[in-house]
Every structure is written in structure tokens, then in C-alpha cells.
């Protein structure tokens, strides 16, 4: 395990800027999750760390050594690909053993077998070891792919949406398993996902990417409660943050530059009745089981918020709303901090 430092990395493909001036230090034993919409450059960033792409500018150091120009095989990283992760001409066992049989590792066949068995047990694929890689379900393939990374103890694990084709149950199990493994082995991980839940639970820090830029890096809590802009704020939270134009809502002490008010469930106090700062109407209620999604229309805008089914709100009810510590954003979407004394 090692510290990985990216400094001022840029990468272009022809005229497309895939990565633009990204700096990030992944501390030893850290689990960093990259979030961002499709095309944001997440995969490209992982490939740069792995050495599958060379950066146009900037440096990468792995474990204190400058790896900017090293070959992939000498960087000692493990990669779980978004696609095509298994060798189709090999069995599951051979797939798992493949990294260990590399000439630079020179491991005995006995140790290899032991290690493969151990990892197969961990991922619950022992009974599939003799299958061809093509004879597995999508979920099994993905587990083998993760296993192929886990058989080694590299400087850093790079994982590109490794759980994306699993069913919800298995995904949850593996998420917990990954976290446990990372904890036990003290592994350094750079992980890409579109799943908020994975990001929030796995990450020691989350990096939010947008069009090749790393917009914000911080603990899941920081990213959630203290986003630098509306874009970051909209990456996390279910339902996602409500953004209302400030011109339609008179809020006391609001700075002039504020253009948008961002409201999550915890920024709203909702009561039945008409006594409050703002009055809205419940449009409809979505029942999710343990919680409800409340769709409220207010001053010609719609809000979606979580509510407790016991609140007894139903379609057509009039409600009063208070904004509590809402997030403010200016015209460009950047965060506007409240004055020290609101």
C-alpha cells in the first residue's frame, strides 16, 4: 500500500479535454470515490494512474516514486475494469491466478493455489473455479474481476464501477465486504461509481468530477453538507436537492448575490396548516415503504422532500414551510456563504 499523488494532471484526446489540471493526494489506506456524470473523465483518471494513458501534463507519484512515465506493469497497481474484465479463454481459476503467475512475481504454484482459493472463498465463487469465464452470469463475472484485483496487494486498487452489474442484494453484500477488506488490508483505493450509497458508505473522501475537472474533494459529510456549488450539491442526496430561484422567495438576511436557494429535506420544516413563512400545497405523495416522497407546490415551483408516513399528510393538504440553514448559490451556481451573523 502506498500514497499516490497526482499533481496538475491534464489529458486531451484530440480536441476533447478528458482531464483538466487535476491534483489529488490519495493517502495510504484511503478509499477515495470519484463521482460524476458520464463522460466526466473518471475512467480516464484511473487509466492515467494505471499507466494505460500518458498524461499530457503533470506528474504522478506512487509510493514516493515518480511513475509519470513508467510502464503499467512496473507501477504495481490493480485495476477492475468497467467492461471486459475477464480473459474469456481461461477458466475462473486461471483468471484469478493470472496476475500471480506473472513473471515479475515468481510465486510458487502452491502459494498461487492457496491464494486463489482464499479469495474465491471471500467472494463466494469457490464452486465456479473450473468454469470457463464465459460460463458465468454477469454478477459472477464481476466478482471474479474483483477477485483478480484482490489476489494481489498492490500499491493502489483502481476500481471502475465494479459493482454496477450486480443485483441490489449482492451489491449491498459486496459493498460491505469491500469495506471490510479495505479495512483489514489497509488498502489504498481509487473507486468510481454512480451509486451514491456506495460513495457515502465506502469513501473516506469523495471527489466530484465535472467535465474533466475535480470540482471538490472532501469527506462524504463535507460534500453533502458543505458543497462548493450547486453541481456538487446535486450529486448527493435522495431525493436530490431542490433548487428554487431566490427572487420568488423572500428570506430574511439573504445576501444579495444569491440566485438560487438549495433545499434538502433537513432544510425544511413542514407543518399542516397555513401559519408559516411560505404556504404550499401537497401535490401528491409517493409511498416508498418506510418513508414518503412529498411533492409540494409552492409559489409556482415544485419541491420534493422526504417525510414520515406518520405525519398524516395527503394530496391536497395545505402546508406551511420554514427554510432552516438552506444552501445559497449565486447566478453561476457557486456557493454563497451566509454572513457570520444571519
Amino acid at each position: 500500500m502506498a500514497e499516490v499523488v497526482l499533481s496538475h494532471i491534464s489529458k486531451k484526446f484530440g480536441s476533447v479535454t478528458a482531464i483538466s489540471d487535476v491534483s489529488l493526494t490519495i493517502g495510504n489506506g484511503e478509499f477515495i470515490v470519484l463521482l460524476g456524470p458520464t463522460g466526466a473523465g473518471k475512467t480516464t483518471l484511473l487509466r492515467l494512474v494505471a499507466g494505460l494513458e500518458t498524461a499530457d501534463a503533470g506528474t504522478i507519484s506512487i509510493g514516493g516514486f515518480d511513475a509519470t512515465k513508467s510502464a503499467p506493469s512496473s507501477r504495481d497497481v490493480a485495476f477492475v475494469f468497467q467492461q471486459y474484465s475477464l480473459y474469456p479463454h481461461l477458466t475462473v481459476f486461471e483468471n484469478l491466478a493470472f496476475p500471480l503467475r506473472s513473471p515479475i512475481r515468481n510465486m510458487s504454484e502452491k502459494d498461487i493455489t492457496a491464494k486463489v482459493k482464499e479469495i474465491a472463498g471471500l467472494l463466494r465463487i469457490e464452486d465456479k473455479l473450473q468454469n470457463r469465464a464465459t460460463q458465468l452470469s454477469g454478477g459472477q463475472m464481476q466478482r471474479v474481476a474483483i477477485g483478480r484485483a484482490l489476489v494481489r496487494s498492490p500499491s493502489i486498487y483502481l476500481m471502475d464501477e465494479p459493482l454496477s452489474s450486480l443485483d441490489a442484494k449482492l451489491r449491498g453484500d459486496l459493498r460491505v465486504e469491500l469495506k471490510r477488506i479495505q479495512h483489514v488490508m489497509g488498502a489504498t483505493v481509487l473507486y468510481v461509481t454512480h451509486d451514491q450509497m456506495e460513495a457515502m458508505t465506502l469513501a473516506t473522501r469523495i471527489g466530484v468530477m465535472k467535465e474533466g475537472h475535480l470540482v471538490q474533494v472532501g469527506t462524504p459529510r463535507e460534500i453533502y453538507t458543505d458543497p462548493v456549488d450547486l453541481y456538487v450539491a446535486s450529486r448527493l442526496g435522495t431525493p436530490s436537492i431542490n433548487s428554487l430561484p431566490s427572487k420568488d422567495f423572500q428570506v430574511a438576511g439573504i445576501p444579495d448575490t444569491v440566485h438560487t436557494i438549495g433545499l434538502r429535506t433537513e432544510h425544511l420544516q413542514i407543518r399542516k396548516g397555513k401559519k408559516g413563512s411560505f404556504i404550499g400545497t401537497v401535490n401528491y405523495v409517493e409511498h416508498l415503504g418506510d418513508q414518503d416522497y412529498l411533492h409540494i407546490s409552492i409559489n409556482g415551483h415544485e419541491l420534493v422532500t422526504l417525510s414520515n408516513p406518520d405525519d398524516g399528510l395527503s394530496t391536497g393538504d395545505e402546508v406551511s414551510l420554514e427554510f432552516v440553514n438552506a444552501l445559497y448559490f449565486d447566478r453561476a451556481g457557486n456557493r454563497v456563504h451566509r454572513g457570520k451573523h444571519p
Binding site: A78, Q83, Y84, Y87, P88, P99, P103, A133, M141
Partner: protein, 318 residues
């Protein structure tokens, strides 16, 4: 996401009628194409008089005379001379003496056949080897002028090779490559390599780069990754390409006639020169042709397994 569609195949079953029509067509077609082959095979086992009798004999008494004549040279002797010889050694001796001849030595068929094997397999190996390397390079690296180079390689096949026979003849004479196995291997390789590059490039393009990338991250060099990951997945393409190259080199006639006459002569120009007393020795020609078909036949059957297995690989995702 595509795992399901690529692991489970569902193919619409053809209806019974269309299967019957297809079988009938296949049988008729096979019959038509197999008649000449059967005729050659049968001629190999006829006696010279039977082979040229009119009307042609479909039912005849099989004889090994064709095979004996193929491998031997014979001289005519008087019956007194033959009578005073000891008992015949083996079946060929006997067959030959019946025609008032004795075996004088071995014919050139065996060495010509061996030349064919060396030249055809040698050039096939070389074409496929160069083809795989070039195709991999074109498929995976930024090669300057890639499209022009690929077009150039293809363009070497646009004119019939025999059109350049005279320049090649003169060039080979200057270089001392006339009538050498090396010369023939190089020539057939030059003709085949363009086909090999194009065919193999198609197959290698189909193999996702991620496999090699994964192998390189797993601690292998590009060359090792190529050997362990790309080659095994390219077996289908390699087998198909090898069969095409071999068939061309094995059957090639025009250059072989022009450029070889002795040491490096292959079987195709040799077979028509088998002349018996009073014209062509058709049974020997039939025998020589039948034997000549066998290697290609075996090679294709051996590789057929790879061809089929390659198809079932399919694409694996996730």
C-alpha cells in the same frame, strides 16, 4: 450490461421444410463437386488400359499399378530376361513384370511431394507469422500513414501475381533464388501476406484492448500479454488465415512451372509430367493427385476444431 445477451444464445430454429430443402440442396451440390474427385480417386486404382477405355469404366478391377508407377521408374525387358529373374519382391515388382518391365529406380514424386510440404507449410507459417505481427501493429498502435499502408498492402493483390512472372523470373535468376525452396517460400509468402494482414487485422480488431491492458497491469510486458491473451483469442482467425494461405501455396502451379525445374520443384508441376509408354500414365496421375490432396484434407480437419471453438468464445463483458 450485455452479459446476458452474450452468454445466452437463442437462435431461431429453422422449420422442418426449410431444413429438408437445405439438405437436398447440400447433397446435390456435394455430389456434383465430388464427382471429379471421385473420378481421380478411381483412376488411381485402374490399370492403364482401363483408365482410357471408352466408354469409361465405372466398375473395374482395382489395381495398384498406378501407385507403383507413381513411385518408380521402369525399363522394358525381354520376357526371357524377366523369366530368369528370381521371384518378384513385393506387389509392385509383380505388377511391373506383368507388363514385361522391371523397376529401375524410384521416381521423383516423393522428393517433389516433400518439396511441396516444405514450401507450402513454410510459406504459410511465415505469412501467418508476419500477418499476425503486422495486423496487431496496425490494430493497436498509431502507425503513421496507417490507411495508406494498409491500402498499399491490399493493392499488391489487385493484379494477378502471374502478371509479374517475367520480372520475378529475371530477378530470381540474378539473386540465385531460381529453383530454390527459399525462393519459393518467399514468393508465396509475398503473395499471401497481404491476405493474412487483412484477415487477421479484422480478427484482432475484434479483441478488446482491455484484455491486454489488464494483463499489462497484472505484471506482463506487452509481448507477454500478446502471447498469453491476444494469440489464444485469435486462434479462429489464425486457423482460417492459415488454411487460405496453405491452399494457395499448395495448389500454386504457374510460378512453380516457371521458377522450379529440379531441386525445388513442387508436386503440381511434376504430376503432369508423369508419362508412361504411349502417353500419359493416367492411373499414376490419379494416384499422385489423390495423395496430393491428403495433407490439405488433414490440415483442414485438424483446424476445423479451432474454427468452431473460436466461434463459441463470443464476447465477454463485465
Amino acid at each position: 450490461m450485455n452479459a446476458r445477451s452474450s452468454t445466452a444464445h437463442s437462435v431461431v430454429e429453422p422449420s422442418l421444410t426449410s431444413r429438408r430443402v437445405a439438405s437436398v440442396l447440400v447433397i446435390v451440390y456435394a455430389f456434383v463437386t465430388l464427382i471429379p474427385l471421385f473420378w481421380i480417386f478411381a483412376t488411381g486404382f485402374k490399370t492403364p488400359p482401363d483408365s482410357i477405355s471408352y466408354p469409361p469404366k465405372v466398375i473395374f478391377e482395382p489395381s495398384l499399378e498406378g501407385y507403383c508407377n507413381l513411385f518408380t521408374t521402369r525399363t522394358r525387358q525381354t520376357s526371357e530376361y524377366i523369366a530368369q529373374l528370381g521371384p518378384p519382391e513385393g506387389i509392385c515388382d509383380e505388377v511391373t513384370r506383368r507388363r514385361e518391365m522391371v523397376i529401375a529406380g524410384t521416381s521423383n514424386y516423393a522428393p517433389r511431394f516433400i518439396n511441396s510440404v516444405i514450401i507450402a507449410f513454410g510459406s504459410t507459417f511465415l505469412s501467418v507469422f508476419l500477418g499476425v505481427m503486422a495486423a496487431y501493429g496496425f490494430s493497436r498502435f498509431k502507425v503513421p500513414l496507417k490507411d495508406d499502408l494498409l491500402f498499399f498492402i491490399l493493392s499488391t493483390r489487385m493484379m494477378p501475381p502471374i502478371a509479374v512472372a517475367i520480372p520475378i523470373y529475371l530477378m530470381y535468376r540474378e539473386l540465385g533464388l531460381s529453383d530454390t525452396k527459399l525462393g519459393m517460400i518467399l514468393l508465396y509468402t509475398a503473395v499471401n501476406v497481404s491476405l493474412a494482414v487483412w484477415l487477421l487485422k479484422g480478427f484482432i480488431d475484434e479483441i478488446p484492448r482491455e484484455y491486454e491492458e489488464a494483463a499489462m497491469i497484472d505484471g506482463y510486458t506487452r509481448l507477454q500479454a500478446f502471447r498469453k491473451v491476444v494469440l489464444p483469442q485469435a486462434t479462429t482467425g489464425i486457423a482460417a488465415t492459415a488454411i487460405f494461405c496453405l491452399i494457395f501455396a499448395w495448389n500454386e502451379y504457374a510460378f512453380a512451372v516457371l521458377l522450379t525445374s529440379g531441386d525445388a520443384q513442387t508436386a503440381p508441376p511434376f504430376i503432369p509430367t508423369i508419362i508412361g509408354e504411349g502417353g500419359m500414365d493416367w492411373p499414376a496421375v490419379g494416384a499422385g493427385t489423390t495423395l496430393f490432396l491428403i495433407p490439405i484434407f488433414i490440415f483442414t480437419i485438424l483446424l476445423r476444431k479451432h474454427l468452431l471453438r473460436g466461434i463459441t468464445f463470443g464476447a465477454v463483458r463485465k
